[in-house]
């Protein structure tokens, strides 16, 4: 364990980081010469990405510090239920997006929609509903970015940055924040996309080495699973219950599958995932990807098991401030088991792998603000330059929001940040996904269902108190009201949401309340590239000068 700065690691991280960033900027500049034909539009590009590039971009977008810090940390601390559920989550997410994402692609490309809120606004003729979707997208992205910050923080802390006193304690976090803010502000969306390949390459390298080398030095899988089983069966003094679950018992089954299903339904509601899907070349690229993206699920599962390896290796997870932090499990495992230089490479991979998605997320959320709040409600006549400026500012605000989440919420398990975001974002599912198939839901019923579920989900999550730290928002599981069945709050709130929407739709239809104008046409939902009216989408606003093209 480094109590002093490990210079070898730090230098390697800084060098790799600098090289990767420089490559991103250079690649972004080449593009203006028109040579990088395939990559040129990842801003939400018109030209569009094929299967191969999309695979990298979606993978790089969705597998983040969540995958290599938060999930293994949860495995380390509490085992299967709140950790390994991520595997069935990433298994079922692809068949789910296979079903509806092509329709979203088609209707967006025929009507020039760039965000989920655009679609909802056009489909239901309701600015209020569009606003609700936009606000939820921005809000839910914040804890997801917070998770990336916590991931970067863990790496910096492992290298020996940080310390006991108040200022030094938060130093790694502030460094992570500063790096992210500077990076996004100066690069826009293009550079992070350019380095997605490099980043993924680095991560594969690290994973491959970790998965083959570590079991070998730690005495084989049998003993790794054995150590995990022993540790998780021990009683946690704070709760009087076992520390975790090695294999979920009967009472844990509902928690396990609702976490998986809720996360899967939520994932493609996030603005940045929608952005990535809409930037594909034609309506079926995302379907083809649904068949090949599970390769990432395999990686995720193997990475999750690193948490058990950290148990076997008896890694010290005490932070430099003296408080145990499970997020340190993986970086400390690398620090302990790898030579310094390779640990440095691994840390660079993790840091870049957290930074790039965080940048993409904050820009996607900022664009949501600019398009669907600023332009729709505050200043419809804004010039592109004004919009670009607002977007940059909004992206900074989103990151500050993320920082607030980190500083105020319980961060015993970073995974909870993402799960909290999921509780919120899932409530936009009825308006977006059901709206792709039918206009039956009434717009005001959707709005009411959304509001009820948002309030319910937030209160439920607030009431979960971490038994050790006594902080609110200590987890994302709660009993379904009137039962003793534990479930992911997002899914319970989602059920409530649907009930409210259906009941009120029946009521509003009976009262013949005005339904709003649907500006989409049934044939829009199956349109494909090259069909009449299917256009390249406008670029994201953040790209500034590039907006005039399209």
């Amino acid at each position: 364990m480094n109590t002093k700065v490990d210079w070898v690691q730090l230098i390697i991280v800084v060098v790799i980081f600098g090289a990767v960033t420089a490559m991103g900027f250079m690649a972004a500049r080449w593009r203006s010469a028109g040579t990088l034909d395939n990559l040129d539009e990842w801003g939400l590009g018109g030209r569009g990405f094929g299967t191969f590039i999309t695979w990298f971009l979606l993978g790089g977008d969705l597998y983040t510090a969540y995958t290599f810090i938060a999930v293994p940390a949860a495995m380390y601390a509490t085992g299967a239920i709140s950790g390994f559920f991520a595997v069935p989550y990433t298994i079922v997410v692809y068949p789910i997006i296979f079903i509806f994402m092509s329709r979203l692609w088609s209707v967006s490309h025929r009507n020039g929609y760039v965000t989920p809120a655009d679609f909802v606004g056009g489909r239901y003729g309701s600015k209020a509903l569009s606003l609700a979707v936009a606000v939820t997208g921005i809000l839910a992205t914040m804890p997801y970015i917070a998770l990336q910050l916590v991931g970067m923080q863990a790496v910096f802390e492992t290298m020996g940055l940080g310390g006991h006193n108040t200022l030094a304690k938060d130093l790694p976090l502030l460094i992570a924040f500063a790096v992210l803010a500077a990076y996004t502000y100066s690069s826009g969306l293009r550079a992070p996309a350019m380095i997605a390949f490099v980043k993924d390459g680095l991560i594969y390298l690290v994973i491959a080495v970790a998965i083959f080398y570590l079991p070998h030095v730690l005495g084989g899988w049998d003993s790794i699973f054995g150590a995990a089983q022993d540790k998780l069966a021990k009683t946690n003094p704070a709760t009087g219950k076992p520390a975790g679950a090695f294999i979920p018992g009967a009472t844990g089954h509902s928690a396990y599958w609702t976490l998986a299903l809720g996360s899967a339904l939520a994932l493609f509601m996030y603005p940045h995932s929608v952005t990535a899907v809409l930037s594909t070349k034609n309506r079926n690229v995302v379907r083809r990807n649904a068949a090949i993206l599970p390769a990432y699920s395999l990686l995720l599962g193997l990475l999750a098991l690193l948490g058990f390896m950290a148990i076997k290796a008896n890694v010290n997870v005490k932070g430099l401030d003296g408080v145990a932090n499970p997020q340190l499990a993986i970086p400390r495992l690398f620090d302990q088991e790898f030579p310094s230089w390779f640990a440095g490479i691994a840390f660079a991979a993790i840091a870049v792998g957290a930074l790039v998605p965080a940048a993409i997320m904050s820009i996607a959320a900022a664009n949501l603000f600019t398009r669907n709040i600023y332009r729709d409600f505050i200043k419809p006549s804004a010039t592109p330059a004004e919009e670009a400026k607002v977007s940059k500012l909004a992206s900074l605000m989103v990151k500050l929001g993320a920082l607030v989440f980190v500083l105020t919420l319980d961060k015993t398990l970073a995974l909870n940040f993402q799960l909290l975001g999921g509780i919120w974002i899932l409530q936009t599912f009825p308006a977006i996904v059901v709206g792709l198939y039918t206009r039956w839901f009434h717009r005001w019923a959707l709005l009411a269902g959304w509001a009820v579920a948002m309030v319910f989900g937030t209160i439920e999550a607030y009431n979960v108190i971490n038994p050790v730290t006594k902080k609110h928002f200590g987890g994302s599981l709660a009993n379904i009201p009137f039962t003793h069945t534990q479930a992911y709050i997002a899914l319970t709130a989602f059920g409530l949401n649907l009930i409210v929407v259906i009941v009120l739709t029946l009521l509003f239809r009976a009262l013949k309340l005005p339904d709003g104008v649907d500006t989409t046409h049934p044939t829009d939902y199956a349109a494909d590239r090259g069909d009449p009216g299917v256009q390249d989408l406008p670029e994201l606003l953040d790209e500034g000068p590039a907006t005039s093209k399209s």
């Binding site: 079922v92 789910i96 979920p248 844990g252 599958w257 079926n284 379907r287 090259g530």
Partner: protein, 93 residues
């Protein structure tokens, strides 16, 4: 038209295939057990890894069915193949 295509066998078969890929991995009680182990992995763990591959296969099957059907539909409507056609700029929309 969308009502008609919804009953085409390719669509409902792929629907069933996808439903299997979504529902079966979530039936936790069918796999929450330790034995039999494989290379030291408890059943709970290796079974879910196995599903990564099964899911990829099932989604591929659904993909082939749906694409073949979509090609047929597009050909019947006289629309081009989006994978081959050069990017078309609609000048006057």
């Amino acid at each position: 038209m969308s009502r008609l295509s919804a009953v085409k066998p390719a669509y409902w078969i792929s629907g069933v295939v996808l439903a299997i890929a979504i529902v079966v991995p979530l039936l936790v009680s069918t796999y929450a057990k330790d034995k039999p182990r494989l290379w030291g992995f408890p059943f709970f763990y290796w079974y879910q890894f196995l599903w990564v591959f099964l899911s990829a296969i099932l989604v591929s099957i659904a993909y082939r069915l749906v694409i073949a059907e979509e090609h047929k539909r597009r050909a019947a409507q006289g629309l081009g193949d989006p994978d081959r056609s050069a990017p078309v700029k609609e000048a006057d929309q």
